[in-house]
Subunit: 202 residues, 2 copies
């Protein structure tokens, strides 16, 4: 088993943190996005869109999509549960994970892709789309802050994949100076807590 | 239990088809998007983003996000499995579901939102972003066609949530004349098969 990884990109980080929280070690092989290694025919044979991460099983199966890779390990090693335990919990964790992905992670990524000079050579940049996403990402921080009122983690008492997605989104946003404003105290308290877990360094 | 529904929108349809395939009946209450009913304080109390569908449990819990709602029913009623049975199958179904969501469903929706005159009053339309997504949606049909070569359904022998997401995306695209070109024979054969299942009318 092998995880195709990139050290700088936010999606592989989601999987590395998930594995660290589970205490699972998976060998990695780096495919450097900034060197264009993800767009080679070799990597496109693993993932048609040239994306990372990809998990390669011993039978040669390739599993793409961070959340799908996490699902695989959650099913094999349910403890500690990072995607919920009961049907209701599983549904609620998936709800939060997706809401954060669509309203925070993607707007942060879209802002980077469509406004950052470094991405001009790799993307068809549409500046107004980037600016709209910047506003959305900032608005979503307020929603996140309200959602965290009175709660330790995003879904409640337990650290879950939703916390991982949110932390990776916010940290990735630093590249365009995205940060949690001082007045969003719940979000700041939560971020300090999740960022201080050993898994955050994975 | 109650499903807040809209008869015309593609996301509630995903859940209705999923439930029909499972043989589960859930009472619905319509919240008409075209009349703006999803943006009322009443509905925003169920979903902060004013989205549909939302599942309301008897204890008052609200579960948003189509895939999360499907997960709830899959966990409670695993047969027939629509999200995979083994850990590997579950991961692969989730991979396909997400790849279709990001590369087909979202580009189809973005094209509608950013280019269709009917959406001008509801969205900040960014025409070049809509056009880029139109190209992406069309390209993704080629990928889908290749992915379906020699396979009955998207993930293989079994009908899954990935087929539901793909069919709902393509059918939704009719609103801007999106259609599977005649030469994409695998995709056309697959679409005819899934569209003729009784669940497609749910």
């Amino acid at each position: 088993m092998k995880l195709y990884n990139d050290k700088l990109a936010p999606n592989p980080r989601r999987v590395r943190i998930f594995l660290a929280e589970k205490g699972i070690h998976v060998p990695t092989e780096d495919v450097a996005i900034m060197k264009g290694e993800h767009k080679t025919p070799e990597h496109r044979a693993r993932n048609a869109f040239g994306q990372l991460p990809v998990l390669e099983l011993d039978d040669g199966t390739h599993i793409s999509e961070s959340v799908a890779i996490c699902r695989y390990f959650e099913e094999l090693n349910p403890d500690p549960p990072l995607m919920g335990a009961s049907p209701k919990e599983k549904a609620l964790v998936e709800m939060w994970q997706r809401q954060i992905e669509f309203n925070l992670f993607m707007p942060v990524a879209m802002t980077f892709r469509h406004t950052h000079p470094a991405m001009g050579a790799l993307e068809t940049q549409i500046q107004p789309w980037g600016e709209l996403n910047k506003e959305r990402a900032q608005k979503s921080l307020q929603w996140l802050d309200q959602s965290l009122a009175g709660k330790q983690f995003i879904t409640g008492r337990n650290f879950t994949i939703a916390d991982i997605t949110a932390m990776c989104a916010i940290d990735f946003g630093r590249i365009w100076r995205f940060a949690i404003p001082a007045e969003l105290e719940n979000a700041r308290r939560w971020h300090a807590a999740v960022a201080s877990r050993p898994s955050a360094k994975a």
